[in-house]
């Protein structure tokens, strides 16, 4: 069981007040998913408001990655409803494409396109999905590269960058599409400890700016710093859901207590 690599004290604390809006961005209602006969997600109910930062944690195999991958239809659910930004997820390809334009995703293994330069990685989707002209797309790309503090890497190829830099490029690439929601699937799990902090600081900055985020991670320091809610999943179910200090100091469910004792023991 991997522990939190970066403690709360080492991360940059947000300087702005982070408010949560009323608008419902994601609504998951009684969602079930099966892989063949295996019941991988059981009765998932989740509502995410605008500006909320949700951290999802749990043991491996608990279905947390599967759940967030259902939100942008990288996985299909068989029962229940998922509504993203007012659009219901179904087999309708056009609706799926609409949703994917508004939902950005950052992967554990970055998934940058190795045959394109960093700049080309960033401008591809804005140019060909949102039909933004090249000059504007490049200007936006450079702006986000500066935000993640690696503008000098624009003309290099992903293979020439370190893991932490690649993940920050991946974050910038998602941001270039101006998404309303960002999903993070264990973004720091494949990184060395030195690089984890730089990525988490980038994510905290995003949270400061009011981005709606769902983050699957083991980094509890991060959860304590920015999360509105921490969700614990085990065996495909949401076991417990609470705001961070309550969650960490006062876990209700036995399984939550067991999990926390494992990952927080150093």
């Amino acid at each position: 069981m991997s522990e939190s690599n970066v403690s709360e004290d080492d991360l940059k604390h947000p300087t702005k007040e982070m408010t949560v809006g009323d608008e419902v961005m994601i609504e998951i209602n009684q969602m079930h998913k099966w892989y063949g006969d295996f019941h991988v997600l059981k009765d998932i109910n989740l509502t995410v408001n605008h500006g909320e930062r949700i951290v999802v944690c749990g043991p491996s195999g608990s279905g947390k990655s599967t759940m967030i991958r259902c939100i942008n239809r990288l996985e299909e659910h068989q029962k229940g409803r998922i509504v993203v930004d007012g659009i219901e997820l179904s087999n309708d390809l056009k609706k799926i494409d609409e949703i994917r334009r508004e939902v950005g995703m950052v992967f554990q293994h970055f998934n940058l396109f190795p045959h394109l330069s960093i700049l080309e990685n960033l401008v591809l989707a804005p140019m060909w999905v949102r039909q933004i002209p090249r000059e504007e797309a490049e200007a936006t790309a450079m702006k986000y590269l500066e935000r993640v503090k690696i503008p000098e890497q624009a003309l290099k190829y992903p293979g020439q960058l370190s893991g932490g830099q690649q993940q920050r490029v991946a974050i910038a690439r998602s941001l270039c599409m101006s998404p309303k929601i960002m999903l993070f699937d264990e973004p720091t799990s494949a990184l060395d400890p030195e690089m984890i902090k730089e990525v988490l600081d980038t994510m905290i900055q995003l949270a400061e700016e009011g981005m709606t985020m769902i983050c699957v991670t083991h980094e509890m320091g991060f959860a304590k710093t920015v999360a509105n809610r921490v969700i614990f999943m085990d065996g495909g179910e949401i076991i417990e859901e609470n705001e961070p200090h309550q969650f960490f100091d006062n876990p209700q469910h036995e399984r939550t207590q067991l999990f926390l004792s494992q990952i927080l023991a150093h």
């Binding site: 942008n72 994917r100 950005g104 998934n111 190795p114 591809l124 060909w128 190829y157 293979g159 599409m177």
Partner: protein, 376 residues
């Protein structure tokens, strides 16, 4: 062995020394590559023996003992009237026009030469970075040039004399069949590969069926079927030009092979690439065009060029359906009573020409691979 006292230096002050002479330069290369172990030394000796026994006879045949000048076969005969044991290049120079163009009328050869010049100029324009307008050149080569070639070669319109396809031959015909096959089989192969990996059962079944059918029969039977059996199934009076039938057969045959080569490349692309593209909102065609295909095709350039080279040489099989390609013309020329028995020179020349084309393709493919290398 030098007997020097190993000199010691203070930490951090060690100078940069030159490497030992026996490890660098020619001496170093020979030591590490040719005589580094007993087995390697034995192989080196064997290789030297092979070169010594094979290269001089080949050079003698092609260059030193060969006859270079002359108009008739007599210059290549020895005193008893037998044929010399080396290449008789007058065979090639006397028959050169037929070997290059087949029985294409002399007065119309300018049409073929014109297309050669246009093609070479277009390729040069695409290859040299300084020349602008590459997009238009590419459109010309892929869309306009083939149509232009068709009208120029076949004639019968725009005031050009008609030349039937049965008159086409030699290297010209080989190039027509090979280039048409190569250019057409790659897109068809890509479509088949994508279809075979599709989730839709009917599409997948059709693609698998097509691939296994065309891959499972020899090219000779494909050509034979297209030439002899296909007309039997056509209604009375409907005929397709024999060359067209051969082109279709060769193209579909090659497309089946190409499909499997491309599928190998597609399999090697990690799922994360698909997911990264999908998460950005790229739909299936855009994902394939921008992300998956460039990486997949680049991975299998060796396989693709391999299939192209195989196709280029397989075109020689059209001789069984009465089309006289380059090799067919060599064989035809050697049946001339005056030149009976000089077929060896013909085959030697054919081997040389084929090797030049195939090696050229191979070198070009390595150039492309180097150019596309982005270090991952």
């Amino acid at each position: 062995m030098m007997n020097t006292q190993a000199q010691t230096y203070e930490p951090g002050t060690h100078p940069d020394l030159a490497p030992p002479p026996s490890t660098v330069g020619v001496q170093g290369w020979v030591r590490s590559n040719l005589i580094s172990s007993p087995v390697n030394t034995a192989l080196t000796v064997f290789a030297i023996y092979l070169v010594y026994s094979l290269v001089p006879p080949v050079l003698n045949y092609f260059i030193f003992d060969a006859v270079w000048a002359g108009d008739t076969s007599d210059v290549c005969r020895n005193e008893q009237g037998g044929i010399i044991g080396a290449a008789c290049w007058p065979f090639v120079s006397v028959w050169f026009k037929q070997l290059m163009y087949g029985r294409y009328p002399d007065a119309e050869l300018w049409r073929i030469n014109l297309t050669y010049v246009l093609f070479a100029a277009s390729i040069l324009a695409l290859a040299l970075p300084q020349i602008p307008g590459k997009k238009w050149t590419a459109i010309f080569v892929l869309a306009i040039f083939p149509v232009l070639c068709f009208f120029l070669y076949a004639g019968g319109s725009f005031g050009l004399v008609e030349v039937e396809t049965s008159e086409w031959g030699g290297l010209f015909l080989t190039l027509v069949i090979a280039i048409t096959g190569i250019v057409a089989s790659l897109p068809i192969g890509i479509v088949l590969a994508l279809g075979r990996r599709s989730n839709m059962p009917v599409v997948r079944a059709l693609c698998v069926g097509f691939i296994e059918l065309w891959r499972g029969v020899p090219l000779i039977t494909v050509l034979f079927m297209s030439s002899v059996m296909f007309p039997l199934f056509m209604p009375e009076g409907v005929t397709f030009d024999k060359l067209v039938r051969a082109l279709v057969g060769v193209t579909l045959f090659s497309a089946a092979y190409m499909a499997e080569v491309v599928r190998g490349g597609l399999q090697a692309i990690p799922k994360g690439q698909y997911e990264g593209a999908q998460a950005l909102g790229l739909n299936f065609p855009k994902m394939m065009y921008f992300i998956v295909m460039p990486q997949a095709l680049k991975l299998v350039i060796p396989g693709i060029v391999n299939t192209f080279i195989g196709l280029f040489k397989d075109t020689t099989l059209v001789s069984i359906i009465g089309l006289f390609d380059f090799l067919g013309m060599v064989q035809l020329a050697s049946t001339n009573p005056d030149w009976l028995g000089f077929v060896n020179t013909g085959y030697a020349f054919a081997a040389l020409v084929f090797w030049i084309f195939c090696f050229g393709m191979s070198q070009y493919s390595q150039f492309i691979e180097r150019k596309l290398h982005t270090g991952h």
